[in-house]
Structures are given as structure tokens and as C-alpha cells.
């Protein structure tokens, strides 16, 4: 269980995240929604401590994550895997090595630097790649792959961290509609099949309604909605997204949904 207690973050004079209190975890698929610049990324990055909170605490199973340092901080980061909009792979390294980056926290530094991975770790990385049907490209350079393939490699990297939690920061914002499906399905598989909690920033409301079992709405850095997707009415969505509301509510034009799912989600 991950508990956020009045977490804030200030950039200069701008309050990006304003005293948010939340509870995550227990194997759910939580969508964080809101317009661009609402503070969604900052919130996720604070959980992984890529951004330091200006105020408030983040507790994981009773441990104050915001106070961790050095090896303990690195161990925490390994437990809450991060997935980025731009994939953040090392383009010049092959796919297998990129996935094995997820093992760095468990392997001795000397072995890792010399790339002496154990066969168990290699098996784990390949099994993760096979989950998403991309084990055949294990020897290719990451920069030669399509966006959808790169994001699946990034998810495989997250998976071999054997994390408690996966934080996905706009994972499909750089992808075309077909790859959006493939990647969201991969995240759903991680959640349902492996029982790892997923917290996912999404711009598209339709994707959020379809994939998430709980939605958290953020506007101007403040928490304005926290409930099941069915409880998110159009009027609340308009409040959340302001002028962008029509774009996100009518998103199906950009990402056509299978008919049955669209009806069920709406």
C-alpha cells in the first residue's frame, strides 16, 4: 500500500502539485487524468523520487519513501518501476541489455559493468520479452525499433525489476492508435497476469475509462476526482479538462475502439 500525505511540489513560483493525499496499491490499475500541465507527471515522478517533493510524505508499507537515501533509495526505485512517454531506452544498446537494466539493483556492480549477466537473469529478460511477443528482436539495437516495440521493451525492463508497482507516465502519448492498443494491453497484462499495481498517467479519457478500475483526476495540481470510472460524468470531465474537454471526450475519432468495449466503457 502506497500512501501520499499532502504531497506538494513547487517549481519556482508555480505550484505544480498542491497538497495531494492519496492511497494506491493492492493490485489495481489506477488512471491519473487531467489536462496537460495539470501536475500528473510531477506526481508520478515524485513517487519514484525523480523529483523531490517540496512538502508532504510518501509512505510505502509504512516506510517513509521521501526520506530514503543511497542504496535504500535505489532499492525503492527498483520496486516502483517507471515507464516514460519517450521510452527512455539506451538507443545504442541492444534490446536484451536494455531489459537487463531492470536487474541492475540486484546484480553486483562489477558483474553489471562487465555485462556478465547470469543465465537466470537472461532467462528472466527473455521471458519478459516473450510475454509481449518481441523476444525475436533481443539482439537488435533499441534505436532501430518502432515506438510500439520500444515501449514494450521498456515494459519488459520494468517487469524484470520484479516491482510492486509500475508507474507509467503518458506511456502511449507518442504512439499511433494501433501501438497505443498494443502497449495498453501489455500494461493490462502486467496488471492482471502478474498482479502488479499500475498507476498510469493518461491524457485520453476514453483509454482511461476502458483500461482503469479507478480514476484520479488532477486539475491545477489539486485532486478533484477519485472514484471508479463509471462515476466520472461528462460535467466532471468538462471541469477537469476545461477547454480541452471536447478533444478528449470525442477522442474515439483518433483511436477507434472495438464496438463492444466502447459501449461498455461509455
Amino acid at each position: 500500500m502506497l500512501v501520499l500525505e499532502g504531497v506538494s511540489r513547487r517549481f519556482g513560483t508555480k505550484l505544480a502539485v498542491d497538497a495531494i493525499s492519496l492511497e494506491f496499491g493492492g493490485g489495481g490499475f489506477v488512471g491519473v487524468i487531467g489536462r496537460s500541465g495539470a501536475g500528473k507527471s510531477t506526481l508520478l515522478r515524485m513517487i519514484n523520487r525523480l523529483v523531490e517533493p517540496s512538502a508532504g510524505r510518501i509512505l510505502h508499507e509504512g516506510v517513509d519513501v521521501t526520506a530514503l537515501k543511497g542504496a535504500e533509495l535505489r532499492a525503492w526505485r527498483a520496486r516502483c518501476a517507471m515507464i516514460f512517454q519517450q521510452f527512455n531506452l539506451v538507443g545504442r544498446l541492444d534490446v536484451l541489455t536494455n531489459v537487463l537494466m531492470g536487474r541492475l539493483n540486484k546484480v553486483s556492480t562489477a558483474r553489471a559493468v562487465l555485462k556478465l549477466w547470469s543465465d537466470d537473469d537472461k532467462a528472466l529478460a527473455l521471458a519478459a520479452l516473450e510475454q509481449f511477443g518481441i523476444a525475436n528482436i533481443a539482439a537488435q539495437r533499441a534505436e532501430s525499433l518502432s515506438g510500439g516495440q520500444q515501449q514494450r521493451v521498456a515494459i519488459a525492463r520494468a517487469l524484470v525489476q520484479e516491482p510492486d508497482l509500475i508507474l507509467a507516465d503518458e506511456p502511449v502519448a507518442s504512439l499511433d492508435p494501433r501501438n497505443t492498443r498494443v502497449v495498453m494491453d501489455a500494461l493490462r497484462r502486467v496488471n492482471k497476469h502478474f498482479g502488479i499495481s499500475v498507476v498510469c498517467n493518461l491524457h485520453s479519457l476514453d483509454l482511461a475509462r476502458e483500461y482503469c478500475d479507478r480514476l484520479v483526476g488532477i486539475a491545477h495540481g489539486r485532486l478533484v476526482f477519485d472514484d471508479v470510472p463509471a462515476a466520472l460524468t461528462d460535467s466532471i470531465a468538462r471541469e477537469l479538462y476545461g477547454l480541452e474537454a471536447d478533444d478528449v471526450i470525442e477522442a474515439p475519432a483518433a483511436a477507434p475502439l472495438p464496438a463492444g468495449v466502447a459501449v461498455a466503457a461509455a
Binding site: F11, G12, K14, A16, S36, G37, A38, K40, S41, T42, R45, V51, L96, D119, D120, K122, A123, L124, L126, A127, A128, E130, Q131, A135, A138, A139, L159, V160, E162, H193, F194, G195
Partner: protein
């Protein structure tokens, strides 16, 4: 920690190894080549040390001698020649600054022409590259000796020496920065109907400008040190005094001069860091 992934990976270990044999038993080629390269480099270094009569004994006795000089250096003293020294230091700074500036201005067009992604003409490209190599192949000190003979003793020869040597260096560095630039902005400019000059001005230069700027600023600092050396061969500046005091074994004055140069270089370093940030602008890492 045994999650479902680990469980299935270990259960299917045989299958995984069968399906991906090259990953579990990679061909030894690359590893062997790396090890061979390291062994070769170490071997070569040992040969070179033997050939150059590398001797720990001589390092030891040299250190004793250096310790003796160090004693003579304390306390540093200008021996009543402070105004001479300050004037010479200003001259050195002027040599470094003007020389670097001249080199950078001349190297900009040369660097653009030497970049493969800008100039497609292979003959022109080859000609410019080799010219830059030739200029660079002659060290600043040699250029200083040449210009001292050509235009006479003094700081003008020093400035020309630095400009000539760094023209070659900048030409190479600039052209490589341009070759490493991202192709996408260039495509954007060309697709909007821009010509080749537009593509360089708006597609390439904004990308490479920060790299060039930091290189030029570093060279100004580095040339302040070089300018002391070329002063020794008569090309003006503080190097002349330094050579003189070393020759007459006035170690306290040598120490004073060295300290002056150290402080100057530190000040330049400080100013150039400020300047670089002021011009490039700090990248604000504020995510959405």
C-alpha cells in the same frame, strides 16, 4: 521474491535456451577481441616504457630535486617587477583572446564546408578536411617560431600562431558538431521551402551553437596557458618573463608568475561558465 515471471522463466529455462541459443551461448568473437585489444594496449605501453628508458629511480631523484625547488619557491615574490609582470599578463590575455576569436571566426565557414551532411561534394570535402588536418598537424609552438621569423618578435606573432593552430582545431570540432546534429529540424526547414543556407542558419546553427560556444570559451582558457609557452620563444607575453626567471633560477619569482597565471585561468573559467549559462540559458526541467 518469486513472482509469476520468475516462476515461468525458471520453469521454461530449457525452452528459452533452445529458442534463443545465441543469447545463452554467445559467439566468443567480440569478447575475445576486447580482451585481445586490452592485452595488446598494455603490451604496447610496456614496450614504449622500456624504449623510452622509463625509470622509477630517476622519478625518485627528480622528485627530490623538485622538492628542493619548491623550498626555494616559498615565499613567492615579484622582486619589484610587479608592473612588468602585470603588463605582460595583459599581453598574454590579449594574445589568447584575439587569437582564439580570429580562429573561431575563420573556422566557422570552414567547419560548415567540412561537414559531410552539409557539403555533398566529396572532392571539396576531402580538400577542406585535409587542409584543416595539415594546419592542425603543426603545433602552436611551431607556428609561433614560424611567425616570429615572418613578422618579427612580439605579441602579434603570438596571436597569429594561436589563430593558425586553432583554426585547424576549431574547423574539425565544428564540422563534427555539425555532423552530429539532428537531421529532423533541417528537414523541417527544407520542407518549408528554405534553401541550403537557410537550412544551415536555422536547422543546424541553433543546435550546434552551444557546443561551439563552450569549445571557444574553453580554448580561450586553454590558450591563456598556451600563450605563456609561446612567449618563451619570443612571441610576447608573460612566458618571456617565466622563461627568463627559470633560466636565472629565481624560483620565488617563478612561483609568483605561476600563481598569477593560475589565478587568471581560474577567473577566466569562472567568467566563461557564467557567460555560457547566460547565452545558452539554463534548461528548466519542469515536467508537465
Amino acid at each position: 521474491m518469486t513472482g509469476p515471471l520468475r516462476h515461468s522463466a525458471l520453469a521454461d529455462r530449457g525452452g528459452l535456451e533452445r529458442r534463443h541459443p545465441r543469447i545463452f551461448r554467445p559467439p566468443p568473437g567480440p569478447r575475445v577481441a576486447t580482451v585481445a585489444l586490452i592485452v595488446g594496449a598494455v603490451g604496447l605501453a610496456i614496450c614504449a616504457m622500456w624504449w623510452l628508458e622509463f625509470s622509477f629511480d630517476r622519478i625518485g631523484s627528480g622528485l627530490v630535486q623538485l622538492g628542493y625547488f619548491l623550498q626555494l619557491m616559498v615565499p613567492p615574490s615579484h622582486g619589484g617587477k610587479l608592473s612588468h609582470y602585470l603588463g605582460a599578463l595583459a599581453e598574454t590575455l590579449a594574445i589568447a583572446f584575439l587569437g582564439t576569436l580570429l580562429a573561431a571566426v575563420l573556422a566557422l565557414p570552414a567547419g560548415v564546408l567540412a561537414a559531410k551532411n552539409v557539403v555533398a561534394n566529396r572532392i571539396l570535402h576531402f580538400f577542406i578536411r585535409r587542409s584543416l588536418d595539415t594546419v592542425r598537424g603543426v603545433d602552436t609552438l611551431i607556428w609561433a617560431l614560424i611567425f616570429v621569423s615572418a613578422v618579427g618578435l612580439g605579441p602579434f606573432a603570438g596571436m597569429l600562431a594561436i589563430a593558425a593552430a586553432d583554426f585547424g582545431a576549431f574547423g574539425k570540432l565544428f564540422s563534427e558538431a555539425i555532423e552530429n546534429s539532428d537531421r529532423k529540424p533541417i528537414e523541417g526547414v527544407v520542407a518549408s521551402g528554405g534553401g541550403e543556407l537557410h537550412a544551415v542558419r536555422f536547422g543546424v546553427l541553433p543546435q550546434v551553437f552551444p557546443v561551439m560556444l563552450s569549445q571557444v570559451l574553453y580554448y580561450i582558457e586553454s590558450n591563456t596557458r598556451s600563450a605563456t609557452i609561446i612567449g618563451i620563444v619570443g612571441a610576447g607575453g608573460i612566458g618571456l618573463h617565466l622563461a627568463e626567471e627559470i633560466r636565472t633560477l629565481e624560483w620565488d619569482r617563478v612561483a609568483f608568475l605561476v600563481l598569477m597565471i593560475l589565478v587568471t585561468v581560474a577567473v577566466i573559467d569562472f567568467i566563461s561558465a557564467r557567460l555560457r549559462f547566460a547565452i545558452i540559458g539554463r534548461r528548466v526541467a519542469a515536467p508537465a
